[in-house]
Every structure is written in structure tokens, then in C-alpha cells.
């Protein structure tokens, strides 16, 4: 199961650690959501989301200040006892030494932030969602072509890396070769990146591994990129029907998200880089509201109607000639 170490959270959100003696590498968060423990401080512990990060803002802070000491410590004890991943005080609020003592007893890190509570919550949730997003790794090449993330897939040896290399030489950017880790950041966004080991490397049959970053420069690489379309390369099969118009989009699915997919048949002499480039730019134009296939359809339809009108006129004329 994926998790985020509390120490990483501290670094990323610039939190202050109020309990430095607790090992924050061992404290782990498995949930991207937040709980504000106001009701728990009031004594209601049913449905307590103890696996979430707990944030104390003004409401909880001033409420707990009004409680009598014994009751307050009892409630905090119950909260820490539930093995929450960590407790964060927003707005630079400072917990009392008695609360910190309970936190130490249960080894729960207590942190503080100078941000206002709602901003801190929004930021943590957004960042945690990305970190904890479901992920898979697939076989393919991810390239940024004119800003569109194009995932090239296909059997080993079909020419994915060669296509990527040519795209690089035409000014596009490599994200990952061979292995692409895909993360589902939201229901309509998939983000791809390369595993650390193979980042910015390409394997070319007969040459071996080349390092794109050192060879061609940083302008040709990118660390992460949203995946906008998929191009599947396959050997040309004359019995199979390939899309000739592009009137309807085809889709493929990763982690439950749909992505536009084109099946492109390979034949010696086809320039893959130009095809991929055109597919990317065409997709971009479609997103901006212009669809060439629909334009063609419209023209054919107009031509058809015009011809019908002409024919009708012709028929009228010949009838006139016949009568007079």
C-alpha cells in the first residue's frame, strides 16, 4: 500500500516539528483526507476517522481552552490513543506541554504551521492526493509533443524508442522510455513519469542505452507529463480495418480513466515521428473545437445538397423545354 512519511509531509508543507524526539520516518499516512477533531474533543468518537491527518484550527483550539483541564487531557489521550498519523496545529497555535506529553507517550508527531487552517487543509489534500494516487507501470514510451502527453505503445521491437528519438530531434521532449509509471491523480487526469533508474534514458537496438539529458540537453527531457492520448503501433494487418476518417474517437483505459487512442499500422517507410506529431496537433485542434473529420462531413453533405438542387433545376428546365 502506498503511503507518505510524516517526515516528507513536514518538508513539503514547511511544518514545524513540536515533538522532535519522535521518529517521523516511521509515522506514515495512508489517506489523503483531513479530519478536524472538533467533535472528538466534544466527546463524540463514533465514526472517528483516526487514519487521517488531524488538523486543529481556531475552533478546536479555543474550544479545548475552555474545557476543564482533566476533561481536555482525557479527550486528547483518546485521540492520540487511536493511532492518528499526526496532529497539526494551524495558524501557529501552540499546544500546551501536557498535550505534547500525551503525544510522546503514544509516539504521535505533533506539528505546527503558520498557514491559516483552510489553506493548509486544501494544500495538504491536493498534495497528498497526488502522492497517494493509484498507480501502475506499463510498457511504452511517453513523449511531450507540442505540450500534449503522447503515450506510444506496442510490442517490443516495433520502433517505439526510434519514434521517440526522432521526435526528440524534432524538438519534442522525452518523459519515459520503456517503462512508464502512471498515476491517477483525478478522475480525468493521468500523470506519467519514469522510474528513477531509467529516467531520461533510451534503449536503441544495436547501440545500447543513451542518456538523452546529457546527449541532447535538458530542453529535450521532462520529468512528469499528463497523458492526453495513446498511440498503439502494430504491424500492418491487411485484414484489419483502420480508422480512415477519425469521426469517432476510440478510447483505451488505465486505472478506470479513459484516454483517446489511435491504432497506427506500421509499414516500412512510414515516418512515425510525423504521424505522431500530426496526431498530437490534430488532437489539440479537436480540443479547441475544430474537427477536420466533421468539416469533411459537412462539406460532403453541402456538396450533396447542392448537387440535388442543381439536378432539380435541370429537371425543371427540361420539362419547360418539352412543353414549349
Amino acid at each position: 500500500m502506498t503511503y507518505v512519511k510524516v517526515s516528507t509531509l513536514i518538508g513539503k508543507m514547511k511544518l514545524q516539528n513540536l515533538t522532535p524526539e519522535i521518529d517521523t520516518d516511521k509515522a506514515r499516512v495512508y489517506q489523503p483526507d483531513i479530519n478536524r477533531p472538533a467533535l472528538q474533543l466534544a466527546g463524540f468518537f463514533e465514526h472517528f476517522s483516526h487514519e487521517r491527518i488531524q488538523i486543529i484550527g481556531n475552533v478546536e483550539y479555543y474550544y479545548s481552552k475552555e474545557m476543564d483541564r482533566e476533561e481536555r487531557l482525557q479527550r486528547f489521550e483518546k485521540i492520540f490513543e487511536s493511532q492518528i498519523p499526526c496532529l497539526i496545529y494551524a495558524r501557529n497555535l501552540q499546544p500546551g506541554e501536557d498535550v505534547l506529553a500525551i503525544a510522546r507517550k503514544y509516539s504521535v508527531p505533533v506539528l505546527s504551521s503558520d498557514k491559516i487552517t483552510s489553506d493548509l487543509m486544501a494544500e495538504i489534500i491536493r498534495w497528498m492526493k497526488v502522492q497517494l494516487a493509484p498507480s501502475i507501470s506499463i510498457h511504452g514510451v511517453l513523449v511531450d509533443v507540442y505540450g500534449e502527453g503522447v503515450l506510444i505503445m506496442g510490442e517490443s521491437g516495433i520502433g517505439k524508442s526510434e519514434a521517440a528519438l526522432e521526435l526528440l530531434k524534432r524538438g519534442h521532449r522525452l518523459v519515459a522510455d520503456d517503462v512508464v509509471s502512471i498515476r491517477k491523480v483525478s478522475d480525468d487526469t493521468l500523470v506519467g513519469s519514469a522510474p528513477d533508474v531509467t529516467r531520461h534514458l533510451i534503449e536503441l537496438r544495436g547501440i545500447g542505452i543513451i542518456d538523452v539529458k546529457t546527449l541532447f540537453g535538458v530542453e529535450h527531457v521532462k520529468n512528469t507529463q499528463a497523458i492526453n492520448m495513446v498511440i498503439k503501433l502494430e504491424d500492418w494487418n491487411k485484414d484489419k480495418e483502420y480508422d480512415r476518417l477519425g469521426l469517432e474517437d476510440q478510447y483505451t483505459e488505465f486505472l478506470g480513466n479513459k484516454v483517446v487512442c489511435h491504432n497506427i499500422p506500421i509499414r516500412p517507410g512510414r515516418n512515425l515521428a510525423i504521424i505522431v506529431e500530426s496526431a498530437a496537433i490534430n488532437y489539440r485542434q479537436k480540443r479547441m473545437g475544430y474537427n477536420a473529420a466533421q468539416e469533411l462531413y459537412k462539406r460532403v453533405q453541402e456538396n450533396f445538397n447542392k448537387k440535388k438542387d442543381d439536378d432539380d433545376e435541370e429537371a425543371d428546365r427540361s420539362m419547360y423545354d418539352a412543353i414549349y
Binding site: H139, V179, E203
Partner: protein
């Protein structure tokens, strides 16, 4: 399609040269060969993919193959990785 779970027994684990060897073995076959471990699904014919596995001796993985020579492919890789 066949699949088999194996435990790696070659003493050096999946270092760079054993990986290259596994890829070479897998590439001899027509079948599509995949290695599965944790949530990773790696094409055994892809050298870069296999490099990311970083398996040690004693680790478990599943070899799956699909195609006309699938059983030979799985057997070939198993023989290499399991014969210490």
C-alpha cells in the same frame, strides 16, 4: 497463456548482466512475456523495464507468457534464474 511464480536463486540477484541475459532469453521466443511483482507489470523483453526490478536472491516473481511457445519461454527464464 501460462503463468508461474518462481523464487530467484542465482547468487548475484538481478544485477545488470543477469538482467541482460534474462532479456536475451525472453527475446528468443515469439510469445509475449511479462514479469509481475508487487504492482509492477514489466515486459521481459524490455531491458530498461527489467533494470527497474532490482530483485535479490530469494525474491519472488511471476513469469507469464502468451503465444505459441509460451511454455518454453517460461521454462527458459525459470531455468536461468532458479539454477544456482
Amino acid at each position: 497463456m501460462i503463468a508461474k511464480e518462481i523464487t530467484i536463486q542465482i547468487p548475484e540477484g538481478l544485477e545488470i548482466s543477469p538482467v541482460a541475459k534474462v532479456v536475451q532469453i525472453a527475446s528468443q521466443f515469439e510469445s509475449i512475456v511479462y514479469i509481475d511483482a508487487d504492482d509492477r507489470h514489466i515486459n521481459a523483453k524490455s531491458i530498461m523495464g527489467m533494470m527497474t526490478l532490482a530483485f535479490r536472491t530469494g525474491d519472488k516473481m511471476t513469469i507469464s507468457a502468451n503465444g505459441s511457445d509460451e511454455s518454453m519461454a517460461v521454462e527458459g527464464i525459470e531455468n536461468y534464474l532458479c539454477n544456482a
